[in-house]
């Protein structure tokens, strides 16, 4: 009997939680759209890519790495390494999907991004599978819609911007803003510093892969030290 109320509650909670999150990811979406337009990627193709990848840092990595002259496989490898964290999120959130219908176990994870993962972690009222399904679908779907729309907007506005604007600075700023909060412990900070210096020291698209390998290697070496 309380189904409509429960439905309203979970949907309203999802909308309430999602709107500020959507606002926070809008700048990155605009930068991605504008960068794609500057790189000659057709608007429709970039919008389809945004919907399929649904991960800003990886999407931006593809665009900036190719623009720097790197090979397609280098761009693919960089994006895959960036998105490998989704494996960890997937493992962490698996209990929420355990009692879900099969179709949702296959399709629902498509909405798994940093923000939806953190939104679900922050709520303690999603134990009921149906409630979780409604919340996840509504929040993730709304974020995906906002994301794709904003990328499209960036693609349309990108060519209209003055050519002197340092769009590459915008991309770097967004990435630096995403990186910094992850560096509160010293180990990831050392890993990041190693990767940054190595990537900056090697010109061209190869620098990105050199930096990633250097960072992961330093991290592995730090793990072997007794704490």
């Amino acid at each position: 009997m309380n189904r409509p109320s429960s439905l309203d509650n979970s949907v309203a909670a999802a909308v309430r939680d999602t709107l500020p999150v959507a606002a926070s990811i809008a700048p990155l979406a605009l930068v991605i759209g504008a960068t794609a337009a500057r790189s000659g990627v057709p608007v429709l193709a970039d919008v389809v890519g945004a919907a399929l990848v649904f991960a800003g840092a990886a999407h931006l990595a593809v665009l900036t790495t190719l623009a720097a002259g790197a090979a397609a496989l280098t761009a693919l490898a960089a994006a895959v390494l960036i998105n490998i964290r989704l494996l960890l999120y997937s493992a962490s959130i698996e209990p929420r999907f355990r009692d879900q219908p099969r179709w949702f176990r296959w399709l629902g994870p498509a909405l798994l991004i940093d923000q939806t993962y953190l939104m679900v972690l922050a709520r303690d009222d999603l134990d009921d599978p149906a409630r979780f399904r409604r919340y996840w679908s509504c929040a993730g779907g709304l974020l995906l819609g906002c994301w794709v729309t904003t990328v499209a907007l960036g693609s349309v506005l990108g060519p209209l911007l003055p050519s002197g604007l340092p769009l590459d600075a915008a991309a770097v700023a967004v990435l630096a803003g995403m990186l910094a909060p992850r560096l509160r412990a010293w180990r990831p900070a050392v890993v990041a510093l190693s990767a940054l210096l190595a990537a900056a020291a090697v010109p061209g698209g190869v620098g990105l892969l050199v930096g990633i390998v250097a960072g992961v290697t330093v991290g592995a070496l730090l793990d072997r030290r007794p704490s």
Binding site: G49, L63, T64, L81, L86, S90, G177, A200
Partner: protein
């Protein structure tokens, strides 16, 4: 391979990552060392992109021309480290970059 093809490939791989531990691969059972490597991959990849973006494809000796981007990254990172959210830090970083570029 064009940017579109790479994006499609990244989308496919990303979906596999998302669905893997939920539907067919229990990632929680991965060895600890493998999970630690996955942990390092994220900051390493993001930092490498920042480094490559600051360098902008130039050699280290030419970095003077990239100072606006370097200061933009530093200002954004410091503010993002201290604040929640990245909107204001990114705006501040961009303001610094554009001001330095205009000098």
């Amino acid at each position: 391979m064009s940017a579109v093809a790479v994006l499609l490939a990244v989308g496919a791989v990303s979906w596999l990552f998302r669905v893997a531990a939920i539907t067919f691969l229990p990632a929680a059972r991965l060895p600890y060392a493998a999970r630690r490597l996955l942990d390092h991959a994220v900051p390493a990849a993001l930092a490498a992109m920042v480094g490559a973006g600051i360098a902008g494809g130039t050699a280290v000796a030419d970095l003077a021309s990239r100072l606006p981007v370097l200061f933009c990254a530093v200002v954004t990172a410091v503010l993002a480290w201290r604040m929640r959210g990245i909107v204001l830090p990114v705006m501040a970083g961009l303001a610094v970059a554009w001001a330095l570029s205009a000098l």
